[in-house]
Assembly symmetry: C2
Homo-oligomer: 342 residues x 2
């Protein structure tokens, strides 16, 4: 049992977990959509259910971004809530919280200094990637956000520590492959050779764009649909049509494809702009390679190519499952490697 | 009873109604937030409750935009649903549906040609305004959307008939004083002299911007808050802070004011861009005056000044209540004026 660790990435909309055991190459992983902001009181129960699917472990190694959810007044309140949920869910296990300082912290220390353990998941993944790719930009496009972390000579050269700082530096671009509202991706789209403003409504999201373009499958569409209808291509298309106050009787499939392709290009440009900002700061020391993880690597790839980076997909290194849940696998691996030393 | 009409503006998030009686100058008005998309089955009950507060009327004169709500697959389905709700709510009354052709239509005709009566509220208000302001741009900034309708020599010179066409022409700008998500207003905001990307989340809305800036009061914040907390200034500020993944412990009031002022300027620019597009098309015939209505006239005013229009506030002409619910008052007035002729 000592050598079994579950790594956790507790987000506001998804929880990812990876069980790692000494001597085993591929982690067992679980990814569960869970809109924490809607029913925070269920967190403990969800943690227990996920652990039940993975098997027992003596140590819980935790990263989180859930503290940002708007059910919490402050990050302090959010971190405290997550720490407490682990204590209740796993009274027998040792919970260790990974910090943006690259160290693990006890529950008491986490609660004491919440900003140290808030939003640390990018640091865990980048630390793992640095071991095999000492000069690279690590790019993790998740369902909701994108991390762009420069690694130079084996060191993480991130300039931002808090999410706010990281939004400023380009290391965090708040755009993702599923949950991003279309009205946050574009302010207008082409429609029959003219420019059409879009509705500022939660009518369609990135998942609808990529479902329509068949970059993702029904099974990949793991978040809620904006209108409560299905995740199929036809329903996704109807949602995209509504973004220009149209419907499937007033515009056709070619129009919808035009909307989706425009939004996809805009999103790749937005990720590329974060990459450019990160690379610009490093000047002569800037890496020339991007290491991609997350379910939105199909967005990161054209963005990386746009800024002239060669591309390595972490899925080839870690396996597809582990690459999708990179921070959870990474934090488990880091804890296992640290052993009893921290 | 014959000379008593209730005018209705049935939106997806708000229902506005105005009772007008012959010989009475000021309509009695009711405005009720009602998120139709969440519980469409309650529409009939809400219509009845509103009419109960206004008093009896033999005629219901109806405009709608509710057909766009995503509980309906198509506008056809949405129009049919609203028409049916009036039949059930007011079996004794005559329901007449105003069309973008400037005429009233029976329930049967509305269902037959749904695109004629869909999203016709702007046409009703502009027709009323044209009687007193034959050369003007009518600008109605509501909770959610903005209509920009040119009136030249007493005629409505709108180029778009459907909402999609109107989004193309600039006659509809999908931005408003309350419900617009902040992430649809701006992609970045200033924070301590640097540019910070914003979270693509429904963390804060336009109402938070204007509540923080004290352009609106608690009582004006009639839509739901994004986090379910209060409409007070402190709660609005906390929501704005979350847009840059911050909280009230990590940024201060001056930072939040910077975010809010930036968003307000961006929104005024967006409204101004619609105005410019509308004016450009009219060339030498373009009006030089803007007539403002709606609860967001404080947004329309700087936008109009930005494009060099003089400003008249409809509130001075119709009274503040009627100006806020301009389409409902207008459609009642138009129906009363039309009498039995249509």
């Amino acid at each position: 049992m000592r050598d079994r660790v579950i790594g956790w990435d507790v987000g506001g909309a998804n929880i990812k977990a990876a069980l790692l055991a000494e001597g085993v190459r591929d982690p067992r992983v679980v990814e569960m959509p869970f809109p924490l902001w809607r029913e925070p009181q269920r967190l403990t129960e969800v943690l227990t259910a996920i652990a039940g699917r993975l098997g027992e472990a003596r140590t819980m190694a935790v990263t989180m971004t859930a503290e940002l959810a708007d059910c919490f007044r402050t990050k302090r309140e959010g971190v405290g809530f997550v720490v407490q949920a682990f204590a209740v869910a796993f009274p027998e296990a040792e919970a260790r919280f990974y910090g943006v300082d690259g160290a693990f912290h006890s529950a008491a220390a986490a609660v004491e200094q919440p900003l140290r353990v808030a939003a640390s998941n990018w640091h865990a993944s980048a630390t793992l990637v640095a071991r095999t790719h000492p000069d690279a930009v690590f790019v993790d496009v998740g369902s909701t956000t994108t991390d762009i972390i420069p690694i130079v000579s084996g060191h993480i050269e991130a300039d931002g520590r808090t999410d706010t700082e990281r939004l400023v530096t380009g290391e965090l671009v708040y755009t993702g492959a599923l949950r991003t509202p279309l009205c946050a991706m574009v302010s207008s789209v082409p429609i029959r050779a003219r420019r059409c403003r879009v509705a500022a409504e939660h009518f369609a999201i990135a998942a609808d764009v990529y479902r329509w373009l068949e970059r993702i499958s029904d099974a990949d569409y793991t978040c809620e649909t904006p209108d409560g209808r299905g995740t199929g291509r036809a329903d996704a298309g109807a949602r995209l049509a509504r973004m220009v106050c149209a419907d499937v009787e007033t515009i056709d499939a070619a129009d919808i494809t035009g909307i989706a392709e425009h939004a996809a290009r805009a999103q790749a440009r937005r990720v590329a702009s974060g990459m450019r900002q990160v690379l610009r700061r490093l000047r002569g020391r800037a890496p020339t390679m991007a290491v991609l993880a997350g379910q939105g690597s199909f967005i990161a790839r054209p963005a990386a190519e746009r800024v002239g980076l060669t591309v390595v997909d972490l899925a080839a290194q870690l396996g597809a499952d582990a690459a999708r849940v990179a921070p959870a696998a990474a934090v488990a691996w880091l804890r296992l490697a640290a052993g009893e030393s921290q």
